[in-house]
Every structure is written in C-alpha cells, then in structure tokens.
Subunit: 334 residues, 2 copies
Amino acid sequence: MSSITIKQLAYELNLSAATVSRALSDSYEISAATKQKVWDLAKKLNYEPNPSASTLRSHKSKTLAVIVPEIANNFFSQAINGIEEVSRQHGYHVLIYQTHDNSETEAAFIKSLLSGRVDGVLISVSSETGNSNHFADLNKNIPVVFFDRALEDIDAVKITTNDYESAYLATEHLIECGCNKIGYLFALNNLTAGKKRLSGYKDALLSNNIAYNENLVVICGKEESQNYSQIKDLLITNRPDGIISSIEELVLPCYAICRELNINIPDDLKIVSFSNLKTAPFLNPSLTTITQPAFEIGETAATLILKLLNNKQVDTGEDVVLKSALIKRGSTAV
Amino acid sequence: MSSITIKQLAYELNLSAATVSRALSDSYEISAATKQKVWDLAKKLNYEPNPSASTLRSHKSKTLAVIVPEIANNFFSQAINGIEEVSRQHGYHVLIYQTHDNSETEAAFIKSLLSGRVDGVLISVSSETGNSNHFADLNKNIPVVFFDRALEDIDAVKITTNDYESAYLATEHLIECGCNKIGYLFALNNLTAGKKRLSGYKDALLSNNIAYNENLVVICGKEESQNYSQIKDLLITNRPDGIISSIEELVLPCYAICRELNINIPDDLKIVSFSNLKTAPFLNPSLTTITQPAFEIGETAATLILKLLNNKQVDTGEDVVLKSALIKRGSTAV
C-alpha cells in the first residue's frame, strides 16, 4: 500500500495541499498544466486517495438554491420548473428563495448559503442590486450561475436572452403597425437586461427616423402605485400611440388604466410586453408578447451548474444567450 | 449556586429528562398540570438552567420551509407572500419547496427536513397524497402547519377556507343566472378541500331541485392533456350551460376549448372558477371567481407556526377557517 499523502505531493511540487487536492479531483479552478503535473507525480509515486477522506470531501447536500425576485411571475416560475426538471434527473433537490427585488434580502440569503447548506446557487438578481459586492464570497466558495438578470462586474456563468434584439424587433413591429409615438416602460434600469432592452428600443427608433423622446420613457420601480400613477400620467398628458412594457408586471396596470381612461387597445394604443403570461392569449384584447424561453433558460442554467459541481470546466467568459420570440396578438392588431 | 440538574428533577418527579426539559421551556407538548409540577419543584430546589446547554437547545436555523404543489399558481404565490411577510417581521427566512403534486417528491422533501434544516414546516399537500403516513415523523419532531390542502387523519394545526359554502354559493349563483345543467370539474378528489367543494355543489343542486348527474362531473388529475380532452368531450357530447371549475388550473383550458368549439361565454356557457388569477378581470370575458384570501391564509399559517415555535399552546383540534369571496364578472353575466 502506498503511504504517499497529499501533503507530500504538495511539498514535492511546491504547491498548496488545497491546490493538489483540487487538481486530483479535476477541479475547474486548477489549470490544465498544473493538473497534469500533479497527476504525473501522483502516478509516479503511486499515490492512492484515502477513501474516508474522499467520502468526506464528496459529502454534498445534493441541494441547489434558486434565488429569484418573484415567484408570482410566469417567467421565473417556468425557469424554476426547467431548473427542477434537470435537477431531479440528477438527484438534486431545489430550494427556492424569493427576494421581492430587495437587495438586502438577497444579501442575507447569500450570507446564509455560505454555510454550505447547498452545493450550488442559481440566481436572477434583484432589480435593486447594482453591483456584485455581496456575491463575491459566494462565487469564491460555491458554484454560482446567473440567469436572465445577471451582473456585468462578476466573472461567473451567465444565461441571458437577446434583450437588445427583442426590444428592437418589438419597436419595429409597433412602427410597422403605424405607431410613431412609442412610449417605453423602463424597468430593471440597474441591470444589464434593462439597459439592453432600452438600447434596442432607442436604436429601432433611430433606424426608422423617429427621434428618441425621453418624455415618453417612464422609469418604473418597485412601488406599484407609483408606477400606476406615472403610466396614467403619461397616457393623460402625452398620449403615445404605442407602448413597450419591459417587464410583465407593468402590463396589467396598462390594461387597467386604459379601461379607466376609456382608451381602446389596440385602436388608440398598441401594447407589446416582455411577458410569459399564460393568460396572454385570453386577455381582452389578447396581448402581443416578447416571450422568453423561460423553461429552456432554467434547464440550461441547471445543466451548467451541474457541470461546475462535477468540476468540469465551464468557460465563464462566454455567456449563453437564448432567443426570445415576438408573438403578435390582438393588442397590436391593425 | 445551585447544582440541581434536569436529571435530578426528572428522578424526583418520576418523569423523563426530556419531559422535564420541555416543561421548563414551556413546550406546548407538555400538559399544564405536568408543567406546574416541574416548575414547583424547580423553584423549591432552586434549579438554575445551565446557560450553555440552553444556548445549545435554542440553536435554531431561523428558517421555515413552505411546501406547495405549484408556485405558478396565484393562490400559492400569494399565500407564500403572506407567510414571508410575517416571517420577515420575526427574523425568519423562508425556503420554498415545490412538489408538482407528486407525493413521492413531497415525501422526499419531508425526509430531508427531518435533519433539522428548518425550525418549522408549512405545507399544502400534494393532490396525490391520500394519507398522512409520510408526515408522521415530521409532526413528532418539528412544528407543522397545514394550509388550504390539509389531511384529515393528522393531529396538526390546519388553516382552510369555507370550501363547502363557496362551492354551494357558486352553484346557486349559476342557477340564479338561469343555468340548470351545471358541469363540475372535480380536482383534489383525494383531499378534504376537493371533497367539500364537490359536496357544496351537490347540495346546492339538491336544494334547488336539480338532480345530481355524475355524467356532468369530470374527474381531473395531473395530466393536462387528459383534462383537456375530457372537458372537451363533455362540452361536445353532453353540453352543460354552466361550469364550476374547482381549481384555477382548469379554467384556461375551458376558455381554449370554448374558442375551439365556438362556444360563447357567457351566452352558451357560464363559468365560475376557484381562482386567485390576477388577470381574471382582464380575460375575455372577465372571469367570475371564488377568490380565496390567500395572503391572509399565509399570514395566519405563519403566525400560528411562530406560536408553536415559541412553545405556545395552539389548539390543534380546532381548524382555522377563513372565508372566500364570490366575485361576479363577465363569464356569468346574464
């Protein structure tokens, strides 16, 4: 029997024991060159892993955490279903955390997860979260995958959709339907997704020789009543002939305000919304949507985190970008 | 300093140490008479708790688990929001588990929770779960509160709504609107809630001299496509003039089938559904609903579990029953 230990390998190679240990378990954190050096020496010296230590190291909770802003949102509930589908196939449980778009709640969850309660974290960040400060420790210790609402300043795997292109196409669709005064309900203004959607809208206007008018942009936040009164104000004082809602939560208020003000959709006002609402085809009128491939996003996110958990290399530099679909319905009929 | 221990108190009183310990912490599991005996002797012998042991005993995760069939359901997402609201005020985190109405998944979650990951469990049971077998160990070890979908054969705190009365009133509403051939979409047939809803429907028919006809009752399960074809079959072969949907998930299929078959709602068919859909007022036509006080159910469930966690007595014999509201809209207009 070999009596070579990880410490001895580390000493011989002038590496830390932790690095050798990770190299032996084929961790993605260790470079291919270092792994090769470690494996070569281990083979040469007939290193045999200590089985009980190995069991201890592989003692996993077999649980993933999913952190989302809201579960009462069809995009997130469908994405979670996709995550669960893949997780279940690999024997993982899924715990769901809801931040209600509160950055403090999110930070508190992250802190509680550092104790090793779960093996990996899938997160769609709160709209209040402007930087990755509270993710730094987590990302060092536990595999993290961001989906849909990601942060720019963190080196992690990110699954997003073609936000820029989707908003661009939605704007062009409204222009094709005859709109030339298009309002924009701007949410997620801290996040890449929100910024890209706004850029798509702006660029589509410019390409069609329509001047961008910031008075037609309503910056929406977490306060439902404030969003409601701001949108109503736009429709009363500076009525657009089309509206793009950058999140699902703003579209029912639009319908309610139009009823209140006797504005006919689509004759007086056409509406497109980013939305995975199951009821979209049954609304009065049915709603034209930019529908994200929510279930597929969840599946992809789960597949990638399971790869990370198996110490496989995942290139964090290259985001996975899936495509949304523009589904034309009654709210933009001509 | 006193040197009296829990063991000595237990020996003197001929009780187990565990019972004395629970009595000293005012646990709801110990009778008032036993507690009094323990407290009297502890006082007489100047018993002082060991502070480090007490810290150990009170080492809590400050986390509650909520287990629901589906998060993509407005009733459950609103109930979870109510649970979170109360939990947050008391410094508790909430973990959400989704069973997809699968009894095995539910049992696996329950088993994983026995390890003490959470301090308490709030659950709305899967529609597949016919008895309380897999809850028995949990209920002995961790406070459990059932909400909405409860089981009859378990002695635990239960928060439900007036299911019988709601279905009764919905049926009478359809009769008042002129219906006399009322179909019933029967879900949750394993659960008390489902059985009570069906009874309310039957009794309202009888009170109005309409014979109960089992051919108008569609037993719906988890298979969406099967539910769809069964409902369609009813509407083709034995068309009712009114329908009561006993769960929210069945109402969009009804709308879709009516479109497919060119059945006008409400002229040809009136529809009422148990539903907390936010889009109900904006559907085409707007949907008459039996709306459960979901947020309040969640708040009540959380308040009661926190009472249990503080070792306060909660009478498990008496269920809390909250009232739903019948909200009349376009789908039952005359």
